[in-house]
């Protein structure tokens, strides 16, 4: 031990070997396939979002009369503002894509099964938080899409039994969408949600470490390989490719600003961002109560999927009911998404 290391060790009495242990964690050999390296990507994107988000707060003003002007200022006047906003916007979309891809991979490899059910809960929680982040994020721009998305999204809550109205008022900071709504959404977006997200990402990773990575069903291979540098290298390559793609996307398609929010005038053919298309289409097809009940059932089913899977297995062993039910749910979601995207 060098003198400097010994000096440091006296003051921070942690065994360096203990710190190196997570890096040396043995991973099952199937993780060498690229499709199994998607888990770290959302965490990296969250880091990019945090940095660009903090930069955006230097110019953004969360008050209705100034919010739109400040976003316009960031986009067209502030030096490199378009780039920072573009990266923030693009990374948020990519984060949803990568979380979805990671979830789909976990789902189809059944890595959520006993004893990893809790980590599936945390994962679904992270997905929900990501969507809430996106919703509160584009509500801050205060253009027509922002305003009407906030109006519709918050009005949906009012339909919940008993707690609906109080929740709506608490979320909006009043009975209608008003200046309080914007400041509350801003608080959620830059304070409450990042705190919850960081905590949940930490717990999610901790649980993976405690249980170890799930072995692939039907894969007899027992070999392992270390997390660092082999697996880490793959994660870094994916991260860099995403970053290159993102930067190029922003350069060729810089962000724009829509029309200023006009509370008395809903523009024709308004619709939310693509990730809310399935819910949007579903709400067009049913009454609000049925729509809300259906959405709550869907999310609840997603949350408790490990137990649904176990129950299906008990009902019909080795019939792969989980695969039929799960695939049907995914297909319905994709059909609704495409339906809304194409027909509008």
């Amino acid at each position: 031990m060098s003198r400097l290391t010994a000096w440091l060790h006296d003051r921070v009495p942690i065994d360096p070997e203990e710190l190196r242990k997570p890096l040396k964690e043995p991973l099952p050999i199937h993780l060498k396939q690229w499709v199994f390296c998607l888990g770290g990507t959302p965490a990296m994107l969250f880091g990019i979002l945090a940095i660009t988000g903090i930069l955006l707060t230097f110019y953004y003003v969360p008050y209705p009369s100034q919010a739109f002007a400040s976003v316009t200022n960031i986009t067209y006047k502030v030096r490199m503002g378009w780039f920072i906003r573009g990266i923030h916007q693009g990374a948020s979309q990519l984060m949803i894509v990568t979380v979805l891809l990671h979830m789909i991979r976990v789902f189809f490899t059944r890595a959520y099964r006993k004893p990893r059910e809790f980590n599936w809960f945390f994962g679904v929680g992270l997905f929900m938080l990501t969507l809430t982040f996106a919703f509160t994020g584009y509500s801050l721009v205060y253009d027509q899409l922002s305003y009407w998305a906030t109006t519709i999204g918050t009005n949906m809550i009012a339909d919940l039994p008993v707690l609906g109205k109080p929740l709506l008022y608490a979320l909006r900071g009043g009975p209608t969408v008003n200046p309080n709504t914007l400041t509350r959404f801003y608080d959620f977006h830059i304070g409450v949600l990042p705190m919850m997200m960081s905590l949940l990402i930490g717990v999610h990773i901790l649980m993976v470490r405690l249980h170890g990575v799930a072995r692939l069903e039907g894969d007899p291979r027992e070999e392992t390989y270390p997390f660092f540098p082999d697996h880490m290298l793959k994660e870094v390559i994916i991260g860099l490719l995403i970053l290159i793609g993102l930067i190029n996307y922003v350069i060729f398609f810089p962000p724009i600003v829509g029309a200023l929010a006009t509370p008395g005038d809903t523009p024709g053919h308004i619709r939310p961002e693509w990730y809310f298309f399935p819910t949007y289409r579903w709400l067009k097809l049913t009454t609000l109560s049925i729509g809300m009940a259906g959405s709550i059932c869907y999310v609840t089913g997603l949350f408790f999927w490990p137990f649904v899977d176990a129950a299906l297995e008990k009902i019909a062993p080795r019939r792969n009911l989980w695969l039929f039910v799960g695939t049907a749910c995914y297909l319905v979601t994709i059909v609704f998404l495409l339906w809304e995207a194409i027909v509008g």
Partner: protein
């Protein structure tokens, strides 16, 4: 003999000693106290977040001249209290709230089909405000109209504070 063998037995340090009733009650009181304290604090925090909602009241608001409403047609006006649809139906002047009863978007008037269409989820209402298509479950809210001379007034709900 017995005393000697007891003394030779190694003390079992791993098994936890059974908790006495006194210890259990102390822990239980502590837990209840913490829950009440934290619960009270959380309740106050929630109160802080809950906005002050003023009682709703009706106000008479001018909605322009009768002549501004096209005969047999609709005029859409944006009042500070909300958007309103003014209809001229024969000799009668009617008013509806322009807010869709589904999720709160503002409906648009289609003169060719004489119907109101919600641009958000595609809900449709006829000239009388009744739902003809889509997810809305309730007709458009009717607004009371008062005509004084050639001016139209509508009774709007508001939660704004009354001016002194």
């Amino acid at each position: 003999m017995n005393g000697a063998s007891n003394a030779e037995q190694p003390a079992n340090t791993s098994a936890p000693a059974p908790r006495s009733r006194r210890e259990f009650l102390a822990d239980a009181f502590m837990a209840v106290g913490v829950m009440l304290g934290m619960g009270g604090l959380a309740f106050r925090f929630a109160q802080y977040l809950y906005p002050v909602i003023l009682p709703e009241r009706l106000v008479e608001v001018s909605a322009g001249k009768i002549a501004d409403i096209p005969a047999g047609g609709v005029r859409v006006i944006n009042l500070p209290e909300g958007p309103v649809l003014l209809e001229s139906a024969g000799t009668e002047i009617r008013a509806f709230s322009a807010i869709c009863t589904h999720l709160g978007c503002v409906v648009q008037y289609r003169a060719d089909s004489k119907e109101f269409v919600c641009p958000c989820h595609g809900g449709k209402y006829d000239f009388n405000g009744k739902v003809t298509f889509g997810p809305p479950q309730r007709p458009l809210d009717v607004i009371e109209v008062k005509v004084k001379a050639d001016e139209v007034f509508v009774m709007m709900k508001t939660q704004k504070e009354e001016k002194a």
